[in-house]
């Protein structure tokens, strides 16, 4: 996986008026990598993509492609192609001509065009759709045409701007698998923008979590999930209980009135820290036996498990357990050392990770708001 770096962003910044949309972005993208820019709407992920495509000129910093600075190269001369959120198929052309658009501009021979378009349509499972009018296709099919059209140009890097967000859930899952397969088959770099953390985790080699125009963390999906750098990342990726704690010494953290064994070290003696505990890592036991204990305030059946909210000294924890609990039950909780993750305090501390106002509805609402 240690391919050469193909795109490098160096100290990229961009403002619209007073609003800083990109703040000193530094990022290296390797050849053949599937990298995802993940963050809430307005975090700067799409702007970053547009900087790479050439549609946005950064106020400061350099864009390096294959070792060469490409700041001044216009979009049509860059070896990258973009898949837009709303497909952007040309309505005056049929499927075949849409895919052939870039090839015709390159003045390829009719024979070559026919061959490439055929290959591309086969790649995206749209063989025989060439003569079809693009308006007659379903959303998923239109997105496939957009993918075929971009890949026909033989780009070194494919940029995808929330390509699946307009599709329904089932189709989205299928397309995730398909995109990943296409990326492997073509052996090119994919830079993928999404606000869907599940999508990011399941598809990517590398995830870049962004917020407020800044990169919060870069890592493999597992690193991002298991070792979030701050409260924002911990909260944005999956569910997390984030508590104020104190690092007594290496491997010993105190929170919720109990001192726990943990695997983290290198913090100052008695340093204040954020503690992350994933809901699925908490073991429910009897009230008397638990390391800590509390009262169940809400139970939701989720199929695979129950999602329960437990009040422990006024802090609401989310816990996922397969054993059914009931509201009002007093239960004990055990937490293994390797289930505890300690983070340095950041500007995000105290803003996330308490489930006292939690509801499914709010989650869904925040999913819909888009850039």
């Amino acid at each position: 996986m240690e391919n050469k770096v193909i795109i490098q962003l160096k100290n990229i910044s961009k403002s619209y008026g007073d609003e800083k949309v990109l703040n000193d972005i530094n990022l290296s993208i390797r050849d053949k990598e599937f990298i995802t820019l993940l963050g809430p709407s307005g975090c700067g992920k799409t702007t970053t993509l547009r900087v790479i495509a050439g549609f946005v000129e950064p106020d400061g910093g350099d864009v390096i492609f294959d070792g060469k600075k490409i700041n001044d190269i216009p979009p049509h001369k860059r070896q990258v192609n973009t898949i837009f959120q709303r497909y952007a198929l040309f309505p005056h052309l049929n499927v075949y001509e849409n895919v052939a658009f870039g090839l015709r501009l390159k003045k390829k021979s009719e024979e070559e065009i026919k061959k490439t378009v055929g290959e591309m349509l086969e790649l995206v499972n749209l063989k025989g759709f060439g003569k079809r009018n693009v308006d007659s296709l379903s959303g998923g099919q239109q997105q496939r045409v957009a993918i075929a059209r971009a890949l026909a140009n033989d780009p070194k890097v494919l940029l995808l701007d929330e390509p699946l967000s307009a599709l329904d859930l089932k189709l989205r899952k299928d397309m995730q698998v398909e995109l990943k397969n296409i990326q492997k088959e073509m052996g090119i770099t994919f830079i993928y923008v999404t606000h869907d953390q599940e999508e990011a985790l399941s598809m990517s080699d590398t995830v870049v979590v962004m917020d407020n125009g800044m990169i919060q963390q870069i890592g493999t999906p597992q690193e991002i999930y298991n070792e979030p750098k701050n409260a924002f990342v911990a909260d944005f990726i999956g569910e997390s209980n984030i508590l104020d704690g104190v690092m007594k010494e290496d491997f010993r953290a105190e929170f919720s009135g109990h001192t726990f064994q943990c695997l983290d070290k290198g913090f100052g003696i008695s340093e204040e820290v954020d503690v992350v505990i994933r809901p699925e890592d908490i073991v429910v036991t009897d009230y008397e036996k638990g390391m800590i204990s509390g009262v169940v305030t809400s139970v939701t059946f989720k199929g695979v498990h129950f999602e329960i909210i437990v009040d422990i000294d006024g802090f609401k924890w989310m816990i996922q357990t397969t054993k059914e609990q009931f509201v009002g039950d007093r239960i004990g909780l055990d937490i293994d050392p390797d289930s505890i993750h300690i983070m340095k305090k950041s500007e995000y501390s105290g803003r996330y990770g308490d489930y006292s106002t939690f509801s499914d509805e709010i989650e869904h609402l925040s999913d819909v708001t888009e850039e």
Partner: protein, 276 residues
Amino acid sequence: MKKNSLLSKLISAPHIVWAAIFIVVPLVMVVYYAFTDRNGDFTVENIKAMGYYTYVNVFLRSLWYGIIVTVICLVIAYPFAYVISNLAPKTQGTMVMLIMLPMWMSLLLRTYSIMALISDTGIINSFLEAVGIGRIKMINTPFAVILGMVYDFLPFMILPVYSAMTKMDVSLIETAYDLGANKRNVFLKVIIPLSRSGIVSGATMVFVPSVSTFFISQRLGGSKTALIGEIIESLFVKNNNPHLGSAISLVLMVLILICMFVMNRFGDEEEGAVMI
């Protein structure tokens, strides 16, 4: 369901009556007059008459002027509409209003104001004389007629083209750049094809009144540039020959229909050509 259809009949009744009285009846009368003589007997002499007289020339001139005016309007309107559609939304509104402003005035007034500008002793010639260049003959020339028509009908080209351009999805233009098109190719392969519907309706709205106008050519053109509209008018009003007038009107209508058909076909064919 029945109630609904009764209601919709009631609502559409005034429109149907209106259309019958002011569109269908006159049309039937035109056809009736065109194929009858003064005694009311059936005849094709009126249609035949068009071959004899100078009418053929006038017909050709009218069509030719119509084409020229349409092309000039398109050449002016297209870049104009393109520029407006790229302005800030607020400025766009102001610009559209400025384009519509002359249309709030009567066509007569606008034509008279052109006369005041370009007549032999008009504003422009007075100025030219004052600065020592001397007068230029402008009124009663084909130039004057075409100028008048372009001035009067230009908004009818700008507005549909502009509206087609504002409906265009910006991401299509970005996609074209992304796929390797330079500015020229984006314009030729995306912007023009996508605004074609606007061009066709603009061309229709300019061409039809240009071919059939009589007032503009009468005021600005003089006898040498007589257009078919003038002939029809004088046959009805001065020569009291509604039969020949109707026949010419009918032929004009058919010619315009053919032109429209060709124009629409041209649009379709362009699409076909790109597809191959």
